[in-house]
Symmetry: C2
Subunit: 424 residues, 2 copies
């Protein structure tokens, strides 16, 4: 028999980026973890199901973070007076080196995952480090806590400190080992993760492309974050026309579903490659500002129909809270519009879509409350005294701008409740 339950509250979500769908005091019927329907009045057919009544609290889709470095959680907010490449060497690489120690990794990854849960991020695409054992620990913690995730052991065989540099063959072999071990998990899955072109030899990229094809794996990496980086890639791969061409050449640019983070400085040719392949770009506004990388031309990308999600990009970004990342995406789009008036600022609905259904589509039917979608949801308690006269949209906006993790009082993935551990 089907397992069913009902969730009652003030429902708000974005079926499209054009606007919110809201229902005050509505019922979401969930069967086997999927949304069966939303009702103003509960149909008699479902009257025997248990009702989780959240009163006038907000029920929202859980957040989806398409780009986050779990190993950089401890350095959030530090060293942000630098640009990408110096910052990697002064802060990021030394911290990543510590994940050679599984005990350090266990502590750091546990804290990271508890903070994801606390902040209502229920699905994430995650960079680990080059270390296989630590990456296994991350897989296991995520699986035990019931989150949905793609997890990548990072591949890196050149242009990095010796303590992080892998032998190419070892890098490929360990990646394959993790793919075989975790490929069948229903919620936590492997993803191929070359850090970025500069830290990858041609041989490594070629080997990863073969793995991707053999096991039909998704891919995540960085693309055109910073101008120096773009120049560096052109020097390193002179036979490729552009940065995106490097990934394309090795079968890593959307021949299977791929996530490319940043994409701030793309040429027209690269945009066409992205349009013609299964690439989703990840907007990481906080990181792009903090490392002074540039502003992604989000409005133009949306107009072209390119698929976009949001990433916290911890630790270049300092907010794991995706509701803060949404606000920052709006804010930098406003700043951009001072200088480029044709680029209209992003709306609240557009950024909410990117951080829920837009990103969620990488996981299947995730990030919305339409029929057939996974019931991934958070419940938000706001202050009735203050918000009594507000519309649902205004209450959501207030939460995105001023809410804190403590306002998130419940979390569900595929209808299953995830408890937030106290003290985290």
């Amino acid at each position: 028999m089907e397992e069913g339950q009902v969730f009652k509250g003030d429902i708000i979500f974005t079926p499209t980026p054009q606007g919110f769908e809201t229902l005050q005091g509505g019922y979401i019927v969930v069967l086997n973890g999927k949304v069966e329907g939303i009702y103003k009045k509960l149909p008699p057919l479902f009257s025997r199901l248990r009702v989780n009544d959240f009163g006038r609290r907000l029920i929202l889709p859980g957040f989806v973070d398409l780009h986050v470095h779990s190993s950089q959680f401890y350095q959030s907010g530090v060293g942000l007076d630098q640009n990408l490449i110096p910052w990697l060497y002064s802060h990021t690489f030394p911290l990543e080196g510590r994940f050679a120690d599984p005990e350090f990794a266990r502590e750091a990854y546990s804290r990271f995952v508890e903070e994801l849960i606390r902040q209502g991020t229920l699905r994430a695409c995650i960079f680990a480090t080059v270390h296989k054992e630590s990456t296994k620990i991350l897989f296991n913690i995520l699986a035990a806590r019931g989150l949905g995730a793609f997890v990548g052991k990072v591949n890196m065989d050149r242009h990095c400190p010796h303590y992080l540099q892998e032998a190419t063959e070892v890098s490929l072999q360990e990646t394959e080992e993790l793919v075989i071990r975790y490929g069948g998990h229903p919620l936590v899955k492997p993803i191929v993760t070359p850090r970025f072109a500069p830290t990858s030899s041609a041989k490594l990229l070629d080997g990863l492309g073969s793995l991707v094809q053999r096991y039909n794996l998704p891919v995540q990496s960085h693309l055109a974050e910073n101008k120096q980086e773009v120049e560096w890639v052109k020097e390193l791969f002179p036979s490729q026309a552009t940065y995106a061409d490097v990934y394309l050449h090795y079968g890593l640019l959307g021949q299977t579903p791929a996530l490319m983070a940043h994409a701030v400085h793309l040429e027209e040719r690269e945009l066409v490659l992205i349009e013609n392949n299964a690439v989703r770009l990840v907007h990481c506004p906080e990181a792009n500002i903090n490392l002074a990388s540039g502003i992604m031309p989000v409005r133009e990308l949306l107009d072209r129909g390119i698929h976009l999600g949001l990433g916290s990009d911890i630790g270049a970004g300092h907010n794991l809270a995706l509701y803060r990342v949404m606000v920052r995406a709006i804010q930098i789009s406003k700043l951009r519009s001072f200088y480029e008036p044709q680029a209209k600022p992003l709306t609240t609905a557009e950024v909410f879509y990117m951080g829920t259904k837009g990103g969620g589509s990488f996981f299947g039917k995730v990030g919305s409350f339409e029929q057939g979608y996974s019931f991934d949801a958070i419940v938000v308690e706001d202050e009735p005294l203050i918000t009594a006269g507000f519309s649902l949209e205004e209450r959501l906006q207030r939460f995105l701008y001023t809410g804190e993790a403590v306002n998130i009082i419940e979390r569900f993935v595929e209808g299953k409740r995830i408890r937030c551990e106290p003290g985290n």
Copy 2:
């Protein structure tokens, strides 16, 4: 006899905007609420004083918010898809209208003041509303809680909804009444507060200028926040050359110390007026982004030697937490530098200075731990496990970017402890 005490911990502050002064495990000796000195080892002379030992916690100057609308606290984060003038009419004026009811004001102002304390803002220059009784309530709450503040009853006799519009004579008379009543308070003082030029008749500005001169009062208002507003002022005051000239003409532009918030769109003539008068400009980065007003040319203003502080500008800004406002000031200066490379991004030390000593100088010797300064301080608890290898500067940076109110565990104004009320 002098009352003395000692504060021990990891001390960090900015005597100048050029950099931090830090002392790990240092002692601050405080006599009669003022800093006597900072010591690596406690001199025997002070060995009988009580030591407040905060171990490896950070001791920082309390934050100073030079521009905040206490009445707009409930609307923080709402309606921010609009520009200044429409936003005033759709959200701000209706909310301010509710402060005609003293009971509403008591509840709202209490929550606002508790949140100031929770966020470590220990001095603030505050706009109330046009309502005299409610403004008295705000004065009394601030005084009872021990904060330092300048509080202004707003003056507004035209171009606003009827329910907020004052008769010019009543506005002047009530302002004078409050000046007389609160002028002698040591910590909470009156400040003359015409909302901005467009909502003030010439007669009102003239009367306020006379009050300023008669009682030697400070002034706060808005200046050149938004381009439409600047145009409107030129239409309304055709005989004045610029927006700043309007205030100058009526004795409100730094003939006594004055705060002018925003100053995003100033002409050269106005900058010269500001340089030649006791005007301090208030940078409100969050508000300027949220209402898409523009970016203040902070780097150029600093280079000219113009005095600057920071403002949360609640509710156009959505962060009462001044450490968040500091981060946003850095972030938008980075964004500006993409388009105007000559404008170097602000440093962490520069924005910290603006939010402590820079703003604090409006209150006298406030915002630093140099000798003779008021001991206004907060104590910050960060996570030893994570920050063990960090410098004091890195720990401060991490707090500014990722800390929360809960990390602030103690607050002192002039050496006197202010308890944070639980549940607020």
